[in-house]
């Protein structure tokens, strides 16, 4: 790789051991992918997870003197006070790792947004901007919906990028790699935000390749929530970090522009039947539930409003949790949605992720309902059985304590 004098100095330790370590990792990534040089970034988002390796790595950088040149926003952690007050006494192991992780990210210069949808507020890139975003729903959103440029960073490589302020130039940062190679003809009727969860899960099941796909046949402009769901599932069921939707996403006004001169390597068709197969495989049989969980990725104010409208004047039979950012929670309070949800027996918890072991342990091994396949998938390892339903049905199930046909 061709490094500038400044970059060589970073690598050689002139700016401290921490920066040198971050640069060493990034140069190795660059050489692996035949990057010619490094380029500056203007934004970063780190998928903080408050798990062992996460804490170990950020502390390792920190003890060697690293500090972020570009302050990254970070993923949710756990609101310990809220869970302690409303769910259970958090075991010491949970308190310790969450506290230490939050502290370490603060010290290294991260902006503690604790939110997994930074692309909707607080860290929104513009078209063409080169950035380093980790987090499964974030990378596809910034690339596909906004037209910013990020590779599928790991949480560690995104943190290194925040420290050096640079990324190796490869992959989705280059024009030629952003063009579609796969055409996906959507014949299925895709309308609601939930339909996008299923479509997002379905595509990688039908085609395993990682080439950029363009989806055609979508008739209505997807909502931000549809895009958010779509990317989260595409990147959980598979590892798709960029897609186009013909006529809607910025780099695909037409099919020709989406392909940009590349030939169609493969054509995939997704029918209503394909979506039904995913629904049957994924969503689970009706049954009793112990709790309801929403906000993977974090809920927007429109989704909070939709829940409040269903819960207005009712009581839930089981605890209902909505996970979101602290700013969305504040807005929900101002709008009166928080009161409605709390009167019904629900919770809005800010800054929190669905899975930071052992913080949600009372629900391990239990049955829940959610609108998110990603949420259900990450809970498999906790032996929690999630039934997946569209938002309205899920909230009605929480009122009933049961998912019915």
């Amino acid at each position: 790789m061709d490094l500038t004098r400044h970059e060589k100095e970073m690598l050689d330790g002139k700016y401290g051991k921490g920066t040198a370590m971050a640069m060493k990792i990034q140069v190795a990534i660059g050489e692996t992918f035949d990057a010619e040089k490094m380029v500056d970034i203007t934004r970063a988002h780190v998928a903080l997870s408050a798990q062992d390796a996460d804490l170990w790595f950020v502390e390792k950088l920190l003890t060697q003197g690293a500090f972020c040149k570009v302050s990254p926003t970070v993923n949710p952690s756990i609101d310990l006070d809220y869970l302690n007050g409303h769910l259970c006494e958090i075991p010491k192991a949970g308190v310790d790792i969450v506290t230490a992780t939050n502290e370490a990210y603060k010290k290294i210069g991260a902006t503690l947004t604790f939110n997994c949808t930074p692309y909707l507020s607080q860290n929104v890139p513009v078209f063409g901007e080169i950035i380093a975003f980790s987090e499964s729903s974030a990378t596809p959103y910034v690339n596909s919906v906004i037209g910013a440029r990020s590779n599928r960073e790991s949480s560690q490589s995104a943190l290194c990028a925040a420290v050096t302020g640079k990324v190796p130039l490869y992959g989705l940062l280059l024009d030629k790699n952003r063009k579609a190679e796969i055409q996906v003809k959507v014949e299925a009727d895709i309308q609601s935000d939930f339909d996008y969860q299923l479509l997002g899960w379905c595509y990688p099941e039908k085609y395993k390749g990682l080439e950029v796909p363009v989806f055609s046949g979508i008739k209505k402009r997807p909502t931000p929530e549809s895009y958010m769901n779509f990317g989260a599932q595409l990147n959980t069921s598979g590892a798709i970090s960029m897609y186009h939707i013909q006529g809607f996403t910025p780099e695909a006004p037409t099919l020709e522009e989406a392909f940009g001169g590349k030939s169609v390597k493969k054509t995939i068709t997704i029918t209503d039947e394909d979506i039904d197969i995913v629904r049957k495989k994924l969503c689970g049989e009706p049954g009793k539930i112990d709790f309801a969980m929403f906000g993977c990725p974090h809920f927007t104010i429109s989704q909070v409003k939709a829940v409040a409208e269903i819960l207005d004047g009712k009581k839930t039979a089981v605890p209902l949790w909505i996970l979101t950012s602290s700013s969305t929670k504040e807005l929900a309070g101002r709008m009166g949605f928080l009161d409605i949800i709390q009167r019904a027996g629900g919770h809005i918890i800010p800054n929190t992720c669905i899975d930071v072991p052992p913080c949600w342990y009372p629900y391990y091994g239990k049955a829940g309902v959610t609108d998110s396949p990603k949420c259900a998938y990450y809970y498999e390892i906790r032996k929690t059985n999630f039934i997946i339903r569209p938002l309205k049905e899920s909230v009605e199930a929480a009122i009933r304590g049961e998912v019915i046909e």
């Binding site: 190795a28 692996t32 997870s49 170990w56 599928r152 790991s154 560690q156």
Partner: protein, 131 residues
């Protein structure tokens, strides 16, 4: 036999090879033993601890992949080195921060010859595997 390859993560080691046709997610490897527990996996029930792991690529998000490799390394059950076909950023980062030698772009004759249990000498720095 001497085979050329390209360095991803530095280091020189000698060790016994384990070949997996499937990519490995380290979250689904038992941290205490290094035994692969993923159902229907090519090397389900076998241990990767202290071996030179030959596989197509890594899989899984950075959170699960890094945490899996970290727990193995903490218990001294991580693979000694990795030889892969397709690099992804998540695995590349994991190997470098855990200081596990890793190479890719290995000459095709390696895959035609190598068998489980072969002892190989891997010099990632100079891009050479001796079989």
């Amino acid at each position: 036999m001497e085979i050329r390859c390209r360095k991803i993560s530095e280091g020189k080691v000698d060790g016994e090879v384990i070949v997996s046709k499937d990519s490995v997610c380290f979250y689904l490897v038992e941290p205490e033993t290094g035994v692969v527990v993923e159902k229907n996996h090519d090397i389900e029930g076998k241990s990767i601890a202290g071996k030179i792991l030959v596989m197509p690529s890594g899989k899984g998000s950075s959170v699960v992949q890094a945490d899996g490799l970290f727990k193995l390394a903490k218990n001294d059950k991580a693979p000694k080195a990795m030889i892969i076909e397709h690099a992804d950023t998540v695995l590349v980062t994991g190997a470098i921060i855990m200081e596990i030698p890793m190479v890719h772009k290995v000459e095709a004759k390696f895959y035609k010859t190598v068998l489980d249990g072969d002892v190989v000498s891997l010099d990632a720095d100079n891009g050479i595997i001796r079989l």
